[in-house]
């Protein structure tokens, strides 16, 4: 999937998607008849109150979950129709995840954490090391490669998380509240980095956030409430 957009330039196309969870004998309708398009190289913010379905939508786009109804197309491929194994391989090649709580392996150093996605490729040890060094350099942490997460600040851990997300050069970066656990200064540094990845490296970024300050960095913001897109704000 290179820049395999649809004819209207959409990299991500979500059509008539519904997502229902079965919990405790009842159904929870999280997303209802949702439609969304994201262009290649776009920086999109998904905002909404807690429980609005933001993370659920992100999971569907990232291939971590399947819709109850509707379709999810990324790069011209119907990912909702892929098997679990195919989805895993698809994610490894095309998606980089950035989590609110960084989700680094505490037992691995920064460079080993960043290397994790590369273990799924056929790159040699030397090639993997080179990619890791490059990714860490992009996020400004090449000098902390041997450090473990417990010795890194929150902002540094998140930058390692970003390095891990970009090390395979994915087409899509999915960020779930990337600055949610950081102070303003560290958060701004992360947002600067995301903007640079978008503008200078052409990464398509979809970022879930409840912080207007963070969403202001995105080119476009959509709002979710009760599982539906209520408005779009394009800058």
């Amino acid at each position: 999937m290179s820049d395999n957009t649809t004819s209207d330039g959409a990299l991500v196309r979500v059509e008539r998607v519904e997502k229902t969870f079965h919990r405790g004998g009842g159904d929870i309708h999280v997303l209802a008849d949702l439609n969304l398009q994201v262009s290649a190289r776009e920086f999109l913010a998904l905002m909404g109150p807690s429980g609005s379905g933001k993370s659920t939508l992100l999971n569907l786009i990232g291939g971590l979950d399947r819709p109850t109804q509707g379709s999810v197309m990324v790069g011209g491929e119907r990912i909702d129709q892929l098997s679990d194994r195919q989805l895993a391989r698809w994610r490894a090649r095309h998606v980089g995840f950035i989590f609110q709580l960084y989700n680094l392996m505490p037992v691995l150093s920064a460079e080993r954490n960043v290397e994790l996605p590369l273990l799924l490729t056929h790159l040699s040890k030397a090639e993997r090391a080179e990619h890791v060094q490059t990714a860490l350099a992009v996020v400004g942490l090449a000098h902390r490669a041997k450090h473990y997460p417990r010795t890194l600040s929150g902002g540094e851990q998140q930058r390692v998380g970003i390095a891990r997300a970009i090390v395979t050069d994915p087409t899509l970066l999915l960020c779930d509240e990337p600055t949610g656990d950081l102070d303003r200064k560290a958060g701004d540094e992360i947002l600067d980095l995301l903007q640079a990845l978008n503008r200078e490296h052409g990464k398509t970024i979809i970022m879930v956030t409840h912080d207007p300050h963070a969403s202001a960095r995105a080119a476009r913001t959509v709002h979710l409430d009760k599982g539906q897109l209520w408005s779009e704000a394009q800058k």
């Binding site: 993370s55 999971n59 990232g62 971590l64 979950d65 679990d84 194994r85 895993a88 391989r89 698809w90 994610r91 490894a92 090649r93 998606v95 995840f97 989590f99 709580l101 989700n103 392996m105 505490p106 037992v107 691995l108 080993r112 994790l116 996605p117 273990l119 799924l120 040890k125 993997r128 891990r164």
Partner: protein, 384 residues
């Protein structure tokens, strides 16, 4: 191999827990090695028994003697090639704890019937020429630092000489080796004619006979003919293949194999629970991380493999160390000082131990791996 740093790092995550689990597995496999060696010592003779040999003893009890005159009658029975006798000497060398078997034998016939006993030709010649000569097994010779030419006094608990003395002096004229790994090289063999002439009492009586049969396939049939020959005599006989005779000794202690299997079964079951608990805890603690791995693109099969390899590494580390320790301990030799001449750790049991340690790893990793397999990345990430 590229996943090894990840797996190894996870094992080191809770060092104390991993260490204690490895130690418990280690102890189990040391026990496995020790019990395998004891089982080998008690039943190994059965495996080494000659297929073409029968043992003839007094029907009532082996401690009852048989007439020396039976030899000629046995050799006339169809199917019998050669019959030779041995007698329990019951001697002590310096200390009762220095146990090893001593037997008066007919040298040429004994060596003929027991080809696994290797005596150098010149030593055999010396034995035939020296009435008080004795040939001793390599293990016993090394243990007491005996060499050819030494005079060795043995105190018999059973046999006195004409002057009332129970101290018998033998000249070491040969040191024998075993042809096979399991051959007993602890015994001391001396000449029957010296014994018969010097002993007081039980003249012309011997302990038991060993017969070589022409056709091993008809050993049982020949055994029946031997017993029939001596039916209704003062000393009726019980004849059986050598393997069965030795098995009888082992069975006297109990069903060794069953006892060992029961002990090891209980131990390994306990270890299974301990290791299984360790792995289950390890996976439960890492639900979020496993979710991240799946999110990154690790397939279910890869995540399962990581857990199984981690589990197997843990158990094979403990198992390998345990088997190694057992090997080293058993290599020091018979801990009883002579009661277990065939005491060693058989290669097949070492291999079995290695396989068991792998199987333990797979078994203990199975349910945690299943847990990880069923884990949905989205759910795991939501819990973090």
């Amino acid at each position: 191999m590229k996943f090894l740093p990840l797996i190894w790092s996870n094992l080191r995550r809770r060092k104390l827990r991993s260490l204690l689990t490895v130690l418990s597995i280690l102890v189990a496999f040391v026990l496995f090695g020790a019990l395998s060696s004891i089982k080998q010592a008690l039943t190994g003779g059965v495996q080494m028994a000659g297929a073409d040999r029968l043992v003839v003893r007094h029907k009532v009890s082996i401690i009852q003697l048989l007439p020396e005159s039976y030899k000629a009658r046995m050799e006339r029975i169809p199917g019998v090639v050669l019959a030779t006798h041995q007698t329990w000497f019951g001697g002590i060398y310096q200390d009762p704890r220095n146990f090893f078997m001593q037997c008066p034998v007919l040298p040429e016939e004994f060596l003929d019937i027991h080809p696994e006993i290797i005596v150098a030709p010149e030593q055999k010649q010396a034995w035939l020429q020296t009435r008080t000569g004795a040939v001793v097994g390599r293990k016993t010779a090394d243990k007491f630092h005996w060499k050819i030419g030494d005079k060795v006094p043995i105190q018999s608990t059973i046999w006195a000489q004409g002057d009332g003395s129970r101290t018998w002096t033998f000249d070491i004229v040969g040191i024998y080796d075993g042809r096979d790994k399991g051959t007993d090289t602890t015994a001391m063999l001396f000449r029957y004619d010296y014994f018969e002439e010097a002993r007081v009492g039980a003249k012309g009586q011997v302990g038991w006979y060993t017969i070589r049969v022409k056709d091993p396939a008809r050993a049982v049939e020949t055994a029946k003919l031997v017993d029939k020959e001596f039916e209704n005599s003062d000393a009726e006989t019980k004849t059986e293949p050598e393997g069965a005779f030795l098995q009888g000794w082992a069975s006297a202690i109990g069903n060794i194999a069953l006892i060992v299997a029961a002990i090891l079964g209980a131990v390994f079951f306990t270890i299974l629970l301990v290791s299984g608990n360790t792995m289950s805890q390890a996976v439960r603690e890492r639900t979020g991380e496993l979710g991240v791995l799946k999110a990154i693109g690790f397939t279910n099969a890869q995540v399962v493999a990581l857990i199984l390899v981690e589990s197997c590494l843990l158990s094979m580390l403990g198992g390998g160390l345990g088997l190694g320790l057992a090997w080293m301990a058993v290599s020091r030799g018979d801990p009883t000082g002579g009661l277990l001449p065939l005491f060693y750790f058989p290669g097949r049991d070492l291999l079995l131990g290695a396989v068991l340690s792998l199987a333990l790893g797979l078994a203990t990793g199975f349910f945690p791996a299943l847990q990880a397999l069923r884990l949905r990345a989205a759910d795991a990430l939501r819990r973090m």
